[in-house]
């Protein structure tokens, strides 16, 4: 690529970049002084520092992270591991983490483990090993091996959403969140409430978030004296399409509940799409509630349990920075609050017993 470069003078002339020696020469000090000045260490005379900064700017000097990392053992970058950046929750949490980390001068290495392939490659190669100073994982479904692999890196680790013994975690109380969603339905008079939940390829592996929300559903049902239905589990697709398919499957079954609790909003939204296409009125015949407060929830008028997703990522990042700075020594478990947002997708059931599907021909 033949690209114009800014004119560069006083250069030792080896590579395309000025080196610390060039800056040192221009500022008429030693390389160590340049290093100290640029990193804002004490023990540098103000005027010296000034000269160095000017020289550096003049030469468009940027430290080589490789060299600096090699010498110091620090990379000034953080690994962020995420299963699907395309899902609203993850995108927002990543954004929260990135914003905090960038402000602190850290770079973010993004590891996107969407496919099983990508996940295997990742854990096989462990590209994090000497590349980052710390890691934040966003509720990646992990086997025990994976977990051990991450911990064996011996670097600070914070998870968003996934509780693991001895690891700092930022999350919501998924059990309680699910309970409050289901309780809302119960209070409206629903007795036949089903749950739409995701199911990873490997049941051992899944998201703890998913497990906890199912637990919350069961508890709320039992507390209300209701029988939890077998969760409807979506094996294949995630997100909206998964929810839509699961709903379609449920419609093809015999007994339709009067209310649905979806593990997260995208599932709920997918279900709403299927319901709309099937001409089933919401909440007239079925009420739907989710978890997240996805930005689309207000658009489709979905009742949901809101969580502060950007903040989850941001808090995780801050905890990591604290740990790196030596402040935080022991693992902590931070639980952010949730809030029920009542919207138009929930209402009383059609009647106390109208829990069967309308006969064919009954209209709809």
């Amino acid at each position: 690529m033949s690209v114009d470069r800014p004119p560069v003078e006083n250069r030792s002339g080896r590579g395309p970049h000025a080196s610390i020696l060039d800056v040192a020469a221009l500022a008429d000090v030693s390389p160590s002084t340049v290093s100290r000045s640029l990193r804002g260490l004490p023990n540098v005379a103000p005027q010296t520092r000034q000269r160095v900064l000017e020289a550096a700017r003049e030469l468009s000097y940027v430290v080589s992270p490789s060299a600096s990392g090699l010498a110091s053992g620090q990379t000034r970058s953080i690994g962020v591991v995420v299963p699907f950046v395309t899902r609203w929750f993850f995108a927002n949490a990543v954004a929260g983490a990135c914003d905090v980390l960038a402000e602190a001068g850290y770079d973010v290495l993004l590891y996107h483990l969407g496919s099983a392939d990508a996940r295997d490659r990742f854990f096989d190669r462990m590209p994090l090993a000497r590349r980052v100073d710390a890691v934040v994982t966003l509720t990646v479904p992990l086997t025990d091996d994976h977990t051990l692999g991450l911990r064996a890196l011996g670097m600070p680790l914070v998870t968003v959403g996934a509780q693991m013994a001895g690891v700092t975690c930022v999350r919501i109380d998924d059990v309680t969140a699910a309970q409050s969603a289901v309780n809302h339905l119960v209070h409206q008079g629903h007795e036949s409430i089903a749950m739409l939940a995701s199911l990873g390829e490997d049941p051992e592996l899944g998201f703890s978030t998913s497990r906890d929300r199912r637990e919350g559903y069961r508890r709320a049902m039992r507390t209300a004296g209701l029988e939890p239905r077998d969760d409807l589990l979506m094996a294949g697709s995630h997100g909206i399409d998964g929810g839509a398919e699961a709903m379609a499957q449920m419609l093809s079954g015999d007994i339709l509940p009067t209310a649905l609790f979806a593990e997260y909003d995208e599932i709920a939204i997918g279900a709403l799409r299927t319901l709309r296409r099937a001409g089933i009125p919401v909440p007239g015949q079925i009420s739907v509630v989710g978890v997240d407060d996805h930005e689309m929830a207000s658009v489709v008028d979905l009742t949901t349990v809101a969580q502060q997703v950007h903040e989850l990522g941001a808090v995780a990042a801050r905890l990591l920075l604290d740990t790196l700075a030596g402040g935080l020594q022991e693992p902590v478990d931070v639980v952010l609050p949730t809030r029920l947002m009542v919207r138009g997708s929930t209402g009383p059931p059609p009647s106390r017993q109208a829990s069967r599907r309308p006969d064919p021909g009954a209209g709809g």
Copy 2:
């Protein structure tokens, strides 16, 4: 952090990681041979390579990217620069790029320039300088200075969506995409068609995507013998909220068009939310069309011009890899196809002249 580490033997015992010397010792060869073997270079006897690979595995050896980068001048990582990971388009394009790059063994440095702060910090510090081998920018609004700054890095650069002279670009034809959306409305008989478009803080700066879609709107209108309305520009918020606010603003105005062309789906979706809340029937009174085929478009039944966003990112990544491999020498301009998806948000106008708002009290 006191963490169990896998048992490690035959170690020089300095750091937490095995070094190339440890591997060399265990395999009974020189470090150079280890290096060659691990990188799959020729000129290594198959059995030697075998021994080395076993030794490396035994010691859980992972090369130090810093050291390797310093010595070779290559970082094996790519910078991905994106304004908002949380917006659907960007999340998907990032995912596309990540997937391709990860498969090729590259790491991804994510730079999230959502806020003006973050952008300034980024261009001020140019953290990419020696950190990455190449850069893909996802339609980041750039000033000329910024553009020059990126090009001055002297490394391969591919943009998604943003055309710049002499830079490889992967995009759709935004003018044509906009025209096909507007033509669809024209063919349905609409004569009063407005556009909802975004407007960056700095008009000089904006997305070329935005400019081109406005241009397409104007051309389609003129071709149809219609007067383009002054675009309704959203100055503040982006995405859904921006669209919702712009729509509200339009509702407070005097003359309501019979159809709306939104620069991208999130704007359209925000507008739909406002319209629903205002009780204005879609497409009965107003038709709405967007661009993207956002995953929510099918949920809210939005007519839109679909683009393959994941593929945009993936193609960009592949072009970058080609360039790094020495295959691609000259900048290219790749244009991916779009397709009009007709859904339920568009229909004929209420009547040939019913373009005024209903009188107060007329119901709705």
